[in-house]
Symmetry: C2
Subunit: 359 residues, 2 copies
């Protein structure tokens, strides 16, 4: 985020009624003003004015972890959050599920000409609050503006860097037969909150009224994860089930690890109002995105301890064991779901897309 300077003799931005203009992305005074009055005011940027940020050294035995995520969620404000908060927590969580301590974020903005400055300011404030909560600093950034009709209000792309201690390396490829499969809480809250917000936008309040109490679970998972490691729990696979929901995540883990998985439908926590809305809409909560939940695969012997650690944390109070690795009829990397009625079905990756732009 270059061009941050103290400007003198320039009229302040009209943050009440002003709008983003192409000039705000042109690398001149107007861009410098936007950066100063909105981004630099909210974020703890390092080396503003330069093209990047110089960061402190990692610990001697720590390795760097990098993760990036583009956020295009629609609508940008939804029950329980907004695109700003999501852009911080989403990337913090990607770094944290690698086993690393999230430290720094870079944030790039692609703004559509005409986007209200009031919304931009509100979103920047939300990002700053989320960064404080996740204990990371937004250290550098970039702003681009595209013509009206060539974007959709605001896209935020964050890249996180974190420190991975020696000896920790959970990936999706470490699941072993007989391992336990756990989740940290209810599935589908974020996806249903977005659907509910879209229904409201489309004037469908009547039909979707019963889900209006569902809020996004967007939250930073670094502390919950740190507690699992601090308790000495051996973790074979760790993932946050975002896009594609639990269904995508468990299939990724089985594909990467070359194992099967058997899940118990009745054991998978789902909020009653999410379950009811899913039934009404004919969709499956296991394909709805989560933004503050974990899937943990660990040795059978560690499962109870892992559940206890999660349940003692505000973000894991509904943690549950939902299945087991490798207990399938053959060795193909498939996920089987034992239904409430005792039948078995394949929980495949979703092949349709009921909900684009969920994050």
């Amino acid at each position: 985020m270059n061009a941050h300077v103290r400007l003198s003799g320039v009229r302040p931005l009209d943050k009440a009624a002003g709008r983003v203009e192409l000039i705000h992305g042109a690398g001149g005074k107007a861009m410098a003003q936007l950066i100063e009055e909105i981004f630099a005011r909210h974020f703890q940027m390092i080396g503003t004015g330069d093209d990047g940020a110089v960061l402190p050294s990692l610990g001697l035995n720590e390795r760097l972890v990098m993760a990036t995520d583009a956020h295009v969620v629609s609508p940008i404000f939804f029950p329980g959050g907004d695109i700003g908060m999501l852009s911080v927590f989403g990337t913090v969580n990607d770094v944290a599920v690698m086993g690393a301590r999230p430290l720094w974020l870079a944030a790039a903005f692609i703004l559509e000409e005409g986007f209200p400055l009031a919304d931009l300011d509100r979103i920047a404030a939300s990002m700053a609050k989320a960064a404080r909560e996740a204990n990371v600093a937004i250290v550098t950034g970039d702003t681009k503006v595209v013509e009206k009709g060539k974007g959709d209000g605001i896209f935020i792309i964050t890249t996180g860097a974190g420190a991975l201690p020696e000896g920790i390396a959970p990936t999706g490829a470490g699941a072993k037969p007989n391992d336990a499969v756990l989740v940290s809480g209810t599935m589908g809250d974020h996806g249903m909150a977005i659907m509910s917000a879209r229904a409201d936008m489309n004037g469908l309040e009547a039909g979707m009224g019963f889900v209006s109490s569902v809020v996004s679970d967007a939250a930073p998972l670094h502390d919950l994860i740190a507690r699992l490691f601090a308790a000495g729990i051996e973790i074979h696979a760790l993932r946050d089930p975002t896009r594609g929901g639990l269904g995508a995540t468990v299939n990724e883990i089985t594909f990467q690890s070359g194992v099967g998985m058997l899940l118990e439908e009745a054991a998978i926590p789902v909020l009653p109002e999410v379950a009811a809305a899913c039934e009404f809409l004919g969709i499956d909560p296991f394909y709805l995105a989560n933004e503050g939940k974990l899937v943990v695969v660990c040795p059978e012997a560690a499962a109870d301890a892992a559940l206890a650690v999660m349940r003692a944390h505000p973000l894991g109070k509904n943690a549950a064991r939902i299945g087991t690795i490798g207990i399938v009829s053959d060795t193909r990397p498939l996920v089987e779901l034992r239904t409430r009625l005792g039948g078995r079905l394949i929980l495949d990756w979703l092949s349709g897309d009921p909900l684009p732009r969920i994050c």
Copy 2:
């Protein structure tokens, strides 16, 4: 870039006639296939399948530098380059002008529904080639798809990480009175190449025909910069004059450093065909973007050595001394330009925006 798996029993992507669909951003099998058959095939990703990349440690006395850049250039293919090459070199250069050795890139893609897979593959190949040229690895990424009409084909957001040796810290704030101001080559090539490409698109070949030979100067500057440091040249400010051109960069440096600057118009290198086109169009080449050029501020005594180092490098053969720091009528941080006719004018930041989406 999660969800990278070896897929079996899936028909290969139609890279000749296929198009990006919403399902390619949904976190399921189609997204995994897109990542496998396009991105993972071209890039040296680390830990594909996981949510981020674990990177090797930096050297003992090295600090981490991070820089991020969203690329929205239009058109995406232009004389001398494309959005993919630009997305690599742009961020490599942001890291390099901080004095750091660029090492790794994260790449996020925001694709518009309907974007041709053939173009995506061509762009990914161009990014891979650029990364090899810049000696960096594209280690992790993310893909999002937005509905037709909510984006513009492809936006690429890259974030770079690099290693900064102890003792090196050029910023825009280090310029001192009597320092020399140098550039590594001709100004405005990239901006004019984009203008020329847009004129072609708009069927204005006749009027703009004389600039059709101008190609973008997009290039990775890390090696040229490394040679300046290796030669022991004391550098007070280092910047690549991209958006807003030389005009924006010299004003940033004077603002950040709290000094004035006097430039000699006749000393600033501009290609004859760029100068002619600028005159025809009534624009100033000093506000046109560059993507492979440096502005260097160094002590007067080091200027000749710095010029010699630059001129010995393929990317610096037209390097020139263009002015001096601090020789202004007062102490305000202004840039004055002595014109060819001997007059003086203020080279302010551009206040209009002749050319949005230049990078």
